[in-house]
Symmetry: C2
Amino acid sequence: MLQGKVLVAQGGGPTAVINQSMVGVVIEARKLPSVTKVYGAEHGVSGIVNEEFLDLTQETDANLEAVAATPCSALGSTRDKPDEAYCANIFKSLQAHEIGTFFYIGGNDSSDTLRILREQATAVNYPLQCVHIPKTIDNDLMINDHTPGFPSAARFVASAFAGVNQDNRALPGVYVAVVMGRHAGFLTAASALGRRYPDDGPHLIYLPEKAFDMDAFTGDVKRVYDKYGRCIIAVSEGIHDSSGEPIVTKLASKVEHDAHGNVQLSGTGALADLLTDHVKSTAGIKRVRGDTFGYLQRSFLGCVSDVDQREAREVGEKAVQFAHWGNAEGHTTGSVTIHRIGNYATEYRLSELADIAGKTKVMADEFIDNVNHDVTPAFVDYLRPLLGSDMPTAGRLASPSVPKVNK
Amino acid sequence: MLQGKVLVAQGGGPTAVINQSMVGVVIEARKLPSVTKVYGAEHGVSGIVNEEFLDLTQETDANLEAVAATPCSALGSTRDKPDEAYCANIFKSLQAHEIGTFFYIGGNDSSDTLRILREQATAVNYPLQCVHIPKTIDNDLMINDHTPGFPSAARFVASAFAGVNQDNRALPGVYVAVVMGRHAGFLTAASALGRRYPDDGPHLIYLPEKAFDMDAFTGDVKRVYDKYGRCIIAVSEGIHDSSGEPIVTKLASKVEHDAHGNVQLSGTGALADLLTDHVKSTAGIKRVRGDTFGYLQRSFLGCVSDVDQREAREVGEKAVQFAHWGNAEGHTTGSVTIHRIGNYATEYRLSELADIAGKTKVMADEFIDNVNHDVTPAFVDYLRPLLGSDMPTAGRLASPSVPKVNK
């Protein structure tokens, strides 16, 4: 049974719907008479260590709903990746505030933090419930059919490509857009959902699941350009050569690394500029443009999937319900996971933290058409219901041509 | 009176609502029994020269409405800037197809093309009506209070900044976004409409109307960062130093020029990368990220101002009505212009082509706060009603902090 003080926090990269999950936890937990306080930690686990807690018991429902409809972590986030010592400090703070349940909304790193915390609590016989709530635009969590945040980001990417496809039809040329996703290509693959007519772009989609070759790339672009007089290309920021080296490092004189030792991929237009320069110099095509979608993919105000909103809310609500009532097996600790049970319907389960923690799911082979540098129809079928109920589509004129008279 | 064959074409950069204007012309013109055909030229004036006409008389209203709701020029566009000889070829094609009226949707270059055509027609006594229909995301046409396409692009920019402001609050640092606009800063200035709370970004806005200094920039960023622990910056792609040299050329070993001899500013992340590198190396701040909003600003599917949609439709409709009935002075040739007559209400007039053609409007001094690198409240009042009726806003938690117990 959920009782006393409960805590919620948000970790990792923001999404369009991560506040839905937080608000789901708060409103659901406040319904329970046995819950005395609902705290929110500012900036994820770093806020726990520093005792930066907000008393969310004192939020109005009206303001919580306004926050739920707002993109990005309202509690603040962190890139800290706690080790055993860091977790010991978290645990110390939780004990000091007599917090019995910790809901952490995040990706596989956040899940791993909960796994370590749970072990430390068990070792000293402190009754700490830990429930992980899934979130990531990368869609790379194991067990889950998909993760909250991904559908809205996918809607942004599909809408962006549907738009630049019109732009590129109006003023033809080569257009390259770089999409977020270091290891998993789901978000880049979502570009395919912007297509409607057979000649719509993106005409080429490069995913981090497959090796990228600069010379083959030139040949691919030339082939499409010869056929359509234009070429739209979706590229994952994480593309790499056959040795695994990121393509972006091929030009970078100075490369920034994050706290996890990874090369910094976002927040720079370097990869798009590298690829457009390459096409200009090797394919002999004049009008070559590149964009990097950047932070808009996860934060843009006003582009959200209503399916994603509802599911993000529900995983927060279900986290509280699992913690309070337990799942069918009586478990009250674990990771809430989304399972597709129909076309389109889902159910939520409480899975083992260890099955999610620190693991990365990438795109299944059945979703990738590596010959044509495209996704398969199976991927389109998988993603379409997630984009929401009112996804716009692009129209096109259908008039007959007028016979020429002058020539 | 409008009679016989009429022609419509779209020029310059696409916008979110340029098809509304085209559809406004087609539907309004088809109502007139004296109009026998409505043609559309593919890819602007180049399609006229090459006799690439579509017979829009054979479009269904249903499909025209689908196209009207689609961003970017459905007829295709062109970057050609016709001189006298080019215009002579346009005129030859118009004569061959017995086209008596030409509606051209575009910016100041398109207006200038009509001005030349009109002179050539008058010289040989050919009764050619020319009506210019305003369009540009840059908002830089004279006489007009604002131009169709700008409000929707402004809505995109404001929504993007409202979102990245949330992202940057969750994971603090310095964030630079480069916005379109070579000479006029209206679109960059629109970033201010993404703010709601006093500490919301953008905290610094750099417009092409004022000279940009790299050293002063560092100081500005440091000052904001010291105050808020973060800093969001909106920069026009057209910023230049006091000598007028674009900042982007300061780093570029190779710079691309367009048909007009201008340095290519869009389709590359170079300026954002230059500015973020500069902040990293001079301000000693670690987390510095940059985005270039790129082509999404003018093409994104699903971000449109309903005010802009309605006005874009109306300037197309009014163009036909002016051509058919004449304005109050009996003129049937000119440029349709938008005038603000209330808060918020507009009316449409038919102005002289020569007053629009080839001229550029920049932001008035009353809109620019150059001391604080910001816009003035007058600019916010000017822009807000244009963004549309359902502009989303960002919510924020209001909970009290919990007292610390450990320290």
